[in-house]
Symmetry: C2
Subunit: 97 residues, 2 copies
């Protein structure tokens, strides 16, 4: 069985677009995956069967200013949580300083 | 970026386990994907970053009788909707008979 949550694409687009503005101390794959997973866990999924529709739904999200702002707000929240509690090895644990 | 919604695995398990009991007129890939997508759109996602954890979370769901029943209820609902309105070619449209 093969389905896809279009919100994965939409949130990845938002994270890539605003990566710099998120001001994260670490932007390694692990940290960015944590931001993506946390954001997706706070959004209603939008699963589709026909991959052909994903470009169409992605475009709808890009045109939807209000929706995009809501997603960016959740990405910024997740980025804040991850920046405070990085699980990756790159960033020395702030509390040990 | 690579994340996974563990609910995809959990729901696939439930669909495979109860496929016969769902009494669907058509069980082609397209119809089963429609059931999977509709069910997932009605469940809170559970995205993880470390794939190693998916087996662990899957086991939690299998042990969680109440949770499994809730998922089965949603799968049965989705199967009913898909059986009523199959989008695949295999089943002649019931309303034309």
């Amino acid at each position: 069985m093969k389905v896809q949550n279009v919100m994965e694409i939409v949130v990845k687009d938002v994270i890539e677009k605003y990566k710099k503005e998120l001001n994260m101390s670490c932007t390694c794959d692990h940290c960015m995956n944590d931001v993506l997973a946390m954001t997706l866990n706070n959004l209603s999924p939008q699963y589709i069967v026909d991959e052909a529709n994903s470009a169409y739904i992605r475009a709808i999200h890009q045109a939807d200013r209000q929706g995009a702002t809501a997603i960016l707000t959740k990405v910024a929240w997740a980025a804040g949580v991850v920046a405070e509690n990085p699980r990756c090895e790159n960033v020395k644990n702030p509390s040990n300083e």
